[in-house]
């Protein structure tokens, strides 16, 4: 074999090596770019936590955490100022709890109907139609609560109802979170193995007995997770509540009266021109932090429960 032949054979070889290196570099660049995109979520979380904590720390430099978390009066815009967040939390739970009262029975019943009774054809129509409820913007629900639910449903039934009231907000938020419960519970019910249902039917159980005494208990953790996720959504819901529930922060258990939730307060405060750096401006962040921690806790518990459920059946 002469040298010339060897060289000639090598020339395309050099090209190939360079091409390969180019491909490798391109692959590595793409890998890095994708990784950076995945990191955006971490950066977002860090940003949220950092912003909330930074401004809240300044707030807590002026207001003691004890007053904030245990005080029963919320009046940051009047003198003397009061910074007890409990009335806002009370309003939040009045609305969110009321929403669950609407959404849990309806969502569960819909899930049972979808997974145990409905024919595949009906299911194909019913399920997406129910999910439309989650796709309607919250501001639309707020409009409906304020201009229809309160004047045409609540006031004829309970004449003492305030124009702004927790009940109307709770009803529409409840409807909004029906799909969260019905879809997740439907998934949970369908994850219950067919063999369990067959075992029960073969023991001469009726559909009712199979649904309530076999499927339901086997899917308990899935149901709990669904309700918790729905609760987190209800707690964080803003527009419908800001429009319909009002903005009077007070400790009350009466859903027919004007209340203010944490989200409604934040929205109301930022609508007005509150200058940055003032204590009023910082309340947005302190209340936001409280809201964030609450929904986060509920969500994390829900994910835990859901994970346990999946470990059992998948």
């Amino acid at each position: 074999m002469s040298d010339g032949v060897g060289l000639r054979a090598c020339r395309p070889c050099v090209g190939a090596i360079m091409a390969k290196a180019l491909v490798k570099a391109k692959e590595r660049t793409i890998h890095l770019a994708l990784f950076v995109c995945a990191l955006v979520s971490i950066v977002t979380t860090v940003g949220i936590v950092w912003v909330l904590i930074k401004e809240s720390l300044e707030f807590f430099a002026h207001v003691s955490p004890i007053e904030f978390f245990l005080g029963t009066k919320w009046a940051p815009s009047f003198f003397p100022q009061h910074f007890g967040v409990l009335p806002l939390i009370c309003g939040t739970f009045l609305v969110a709890g009321g929403a669950l009262v609407v959404a849990v029975p309806v969502g569960l019943a819909a899930a049972i109907y979808l997974s145990e009774y409905a024919s595949p054809g009906l299911r194909r129509i019913l399920k997406p139609t129910l999910e439309v409820l989650a796709g309607i913007p919250s501001v639309v629900y707020g409009f409906f609560a304020f201009t229809f639910v309160t004047p045409y449903v609540l006031r004829p039934l309970f004449p003492e109802t305030d124009i702004f009231n927790a009940a109307s907000a709770a009803i529409v938020v409840g409807v909004m979170i029906i799909p969260t419960i019905s879809s997740l519970c439907d998934d949970a019910f369908r994850a219950v193995p067919r063999s369990l249902r067959e075992a029960a039917y073969a023991l001469s159980a009726t559909r009712l007995e199979v649904s309530t005494r076999v499927v339901f208990p086997a899917a308990t953790s899935g149901i709990v997770a669904a309700i918790l996720l729905a609760l987190a959504r209800a707690i964080g819901e803003t527009m419908a509540v800001a429009i319909a529930a009002g903005n009077l922060a007070k400790l009350t258990a009466n859903p027919l009266t004007n209340v203010q939730t944490m989200t409604a307060y934040i929205a109301q405060k930022s609508l007005g021109d509150t200058p940055a750096g003032t204590i009023e401006y910082q309340t947005i962040f302190a209340v936001g932090l409280t809201l964030f921690l609450m929904t986060m806790a509920v969500n994390v518990i829900a994910q835990r429960v859901l994970k346990r459920f999946r470990e059992v059946y998948e």
Binding site: P193, L196, E198, A199, Y201, L203, S204, A205, V214
Partner: protein, 285 residues
């Protein structure tokens, strides 16, 4: 290995072939009508379709009382479908439709208005894979009786059913443990106990040993042998040895049709149909 099988199979076939030379490929099915007092279930021209596919075609079959009837055949032959028709478990397959008649004690269970719930109390079922409820062992056994308004003592019933299923001695000290803690074979016997706690007249068993090891299988087979004193058993199996061991009568199905049904000894020694003979000699399936 392959060679041995090849040389063995024809030899066996020869032995069986001799008296069978005259048999046509698809002769008329031998009718084996039993006297009505003796039969518990009777299928008459029963056809079961999934959509347009007929999984069971015009099957006519009698199930005799207090015997073990085995239904054998290659997978996909419709034997499980036929079995699941007997307690109307096919109701839960949306595309399934039934033509023909299926009688239980003289009553057509597919007539309009017939309620399958009461039927399923009288016809118990054991499934391919053990499927206990995720509840305690005792609860598994008593559940069916409780929903059916059992008036007697549930604890006694649980004990009796577990005795009958030959499981009592293994679980008597842990009746409140979750059923999932049992082994596969124990779970399957628990499922049998659960079925017989309802005092059914018939016990349908859909390949009850297919998910079990040989030792557990042997125990279940012994159990089936004991159960026929009290119950009528219909056993679907793809295991011919099992059918030969435990059944009194054997029905052979192929491609949705009932090819032949007779006493087990007859089916395994002098079948009248060539397909049956091919199947039991291992030429297909």
């Amino acid at each position: 290995m392959v060679k041995v099988l090849e040389s063995e199979a024809p030899a066996r076939r020869v032995a069986l072939d001799l008296p069978l030379v005259r048999i046509p490929d698809r002769g008329p099915q031998r009718e084996h009508a039993l006297p009505s007092s003796e039969r518990v279930i009777r299928a008459e021209q029963l056809t079961i379709r999934y959509g347009t596919f007929a999984a069971v075609r015009e099957v006519t079959l009698d199930i005799p009382s207090h015997r073990v009837t085995a239904i054998i055949g290659p997978s996909g032959c419709g034997k499980s479908t036929l079995l699941r028709a007997m307690n109307r478990m096919n109701d839960f397959v949306p595309s399934a439709s039934v033509a023909g008649k299926l009688f239980f004690r003289g009553e057509d269970i597919y007539r309009p208005g017939f309620d399958p719930v009461e039927l399923r109390r009288r016809i118990g079922m054991v499934f391919q894979k053990p499927n206990p409820f995720p509840k305690s062992i005792a609860k598994n056994v008593s559940w069916g009786a409780a929903i059916n308004g059992y008036q007697g003592n549930l604890d006694d019933l649980v004990e009796r059913a577990l005795h009958q299923a030959a499981l009592w001695d293994e679980v008597k000290d842990k009746l409140d443990d979750n059923a999932y803690t049992l082994s596969g074979g124990q779970q399957q016997r628990l499922c049998i106990a659960r079925a017989i706690a309802l005092q059914p007249e018939v016990l349908l068993m859909d390949e009850p040993c297919s998910a079990l090891d040989p030792i557990a299988t042997a125990r279940i087979e012994d159990l089936i042998d004991q159960l026929k004193a009290q119950y009528t058993v219909v056993l679907v199996t793809h295991n011919m040895q099992q059918a030969a061991r435990v059944s009194d009568r054997t029905a052979f199905m192929y491609m949705g049709e009932l090819i032949e049904v007779d006493d087990t000894t007859v089916i395994f020694t002098k079948p009248t149909q060539k397909k049956t003979q091919d199947y039991i000699t291992g030429r297909f399936g």
